[in-house]
């Protein structure tokens, strides 16, 4: 082939190879200059500890899980595919805001307009820390169902014959799901960040939960990437205990103001952690947030106060 074409093809091939030099989240970063410098020796005495400072052990001890107990989703549950799987900084796991049209929920015109008014820190339309208008940036509670769609970590589920209580690690929030047969209130007494929830057992191992009564007025975003929600939203969660050590959480959004029809946001696998696992405390503390913005966020965004 001609010399001119050969050099163009060489440039193209070099650019194709450049992805190999960029790193992926959570993986060990590749050493671009490993051949010139010494290879790093990664710290060898790191132990995975729980919130109490105790080493984390595999609750199965290498054995196979037993069958799911009937009408029981209690336990400490963590993302089955690893701690990174629950972060979901681009939105719910199966519908991230990544620009792919099949991942766009079916917005109404108001839904799309509201989405465009949001300036999130993460996802497809993310902005710098100093210019974001996410209500969460001042440590306002994430609310529901965003608590299912962002930083899902060690979730403790406790239940008795009247109710199931979900304790989220992130932001140290909790919500009550009434399982005593009551219906959702017809007139919401007072809108809530975490709504009103009732649960019914669809079979031996599936709890179906309906939640409504979340506050509107743009106090809550649906997810980290800026999708909208209104006070007309109803959320269906299905907690399906697959076996003794596996739980699958499916979440469906039904908000006629923002979306033309219900849509499945995610089917999220979780696995059982040991019952003596102590969950760390994670809270959004306004003074810490302020210090972070002062030291880093505003510096990185160029929005420091003069």
């Amino acid at each position: 082939m001609r010399k001119g074409h050969a050099s163009l093809i060489a440039i193209f091939v070099a650019m194709l190879l450049s992805p190999a030099l960029t790193h992926a989240q959570g993986a060990q970063p590749k050493q671009a200059q490993a051949s010139k410098e010494q290879k790093p020796v990664y710290a060898s005495d790191l132990k995975l500890l729980d919130g109490w400072g105790r080493p984390v052990v595999d609750p199965l001890h290498g054995e196979k899980p037993g069958p799911a107990p009937r009408h029981d989703i209690s336990g400490t549950w963590e993302p089955a595919r690893g701690p990174g799987d629950g972060i979901m900084s681009w939105g719910p796991r199966d519908m991230p805001y990544d620009g792919a049209p099949e991942h766009d929920p079916p917005y109404t015109p108001l839904g799309l307009q509201t989405l465009k008014s949001h300036k999130p820190l993460e996802g497809f339309i993310r902005v710098t820390t100093g210019t974001s208008n996410d209500p969460r940036n001042k440590c306002d509670p994430m609310g529901f169902p965003r608590a299912d769609f962002y930083q899902v970590r060690h979730t403790q589920i406790m239940q008795d014959e009247h109710k199931v209580v979900i304790l989220y690690e992130f932001e140290k929030r909790w919500r009550v799901i009434w399982t005593d047969g009551r219906e959702l209130p017809k007139d919401i007494p007072q809108s809530r960040y975490y709504g009103y929830s009732v649960g019914k057992w669809a079979d031996d191992n599936t709890l179906v939960v309906e939640t409504t009564g979340m506050t509107g007025d743009e106090k809550l975003w649906l997810d980290e990437a800026g999708r909208p929600q209104s006070d007309q939203m109803r959320v269906e969660e299905r907690f399906h205990r697959v076996d003794r050590n596996s739980l699958e959480l499916s979440v469906t959004i039904d908000d006629p103001q923002m979306y033309t029809k219900p849509w499945l946001a995610m089917k999220f696998p979780m696995k059982l952690q040991s019952p003596d696992y102590d969950v760390t405390e994670m809270m959004c503390i306004p003074s810490e947030m302020e210090q972070y913005n002062q030291d880093y966020g505003d510096v990185a965004s160029g929005t420091e106060k003069k």
Binding site: H5, L8, I9, I11, F12, M15, L16, S18, P19, L21, T22, H23, A24, Q25, G26, A27, Q28, P29, P40, V41, Y42, A43, S44, L46, K47, L48, L49, V57, D58, G82, P83, G84, I87, S89, W90, P96, D98, L121, E122, R126, V127, T128, T129, Q151, R153, F170, T280, M282, M283, C284, I285, E288, Q291, Y292, D295, Y296, V299, A300, S301, G302
Partner: protein, 129 residues
């Protein structure tokens, strides 16, 4: 002849867009994605907090001037899953920090890995259970 050059540049452009990792970031829009900078300095503060932990360290430039750097990591609970802790750094520790710098040229960025005073490297991989 011109069309062939245009085609080559178009293909190169496609390759460039492919090189940006899609879910690589729980980070934000201020970072110069894919770029890496390594600096040696002395720890002045290690803040173990939400929404991020962050390390402040002083770096001497070529003329001997001290530049105050700040580099963030993920939140405390996430960093625990990677083996980091509140005790990972002490004031005065001599460290080498590799980070993804911010786009605006300030001495700031997101930590990729750190070489500790004992010579071992602390990275961003989750520890296996």
């Amino acid at each position: 002849m011109k069309v062939k050059y245009l085609l080559a540049f178009a293909l190169a452009g496609c390759a460039l867009t492919l090189s940006v990792p899609l879910f690589a970031h729980h980070g934000n829009a201020s970072l110069d994605v894919g770029k890496k900078v390594t600096v040696k300095g002395t720890v002045t503060q290690w803040l173990w907090a939400n929404p991020h932990c962050w390390l402040k360290f002083d770096v001497k430039d070529a003329s001997g001037n001290v530049v105050n750097w700040v580099a963030e990591t993920n939140n405390a609970a996430d960093m625990m899953e990677k083996g980091w802790s509140k005790q990972t750094f002490k004031v005065g520790d001599e460290v080498t920090v590799t980070l993804e710098p911010v786009k605006n040229g300030k001495p700031a960025g997101k930590v990729l890995e750190v070489v500790l005073p004992n010579g071992e490297t602390l990275g961003m991989a989750y520890l296996k259970k």
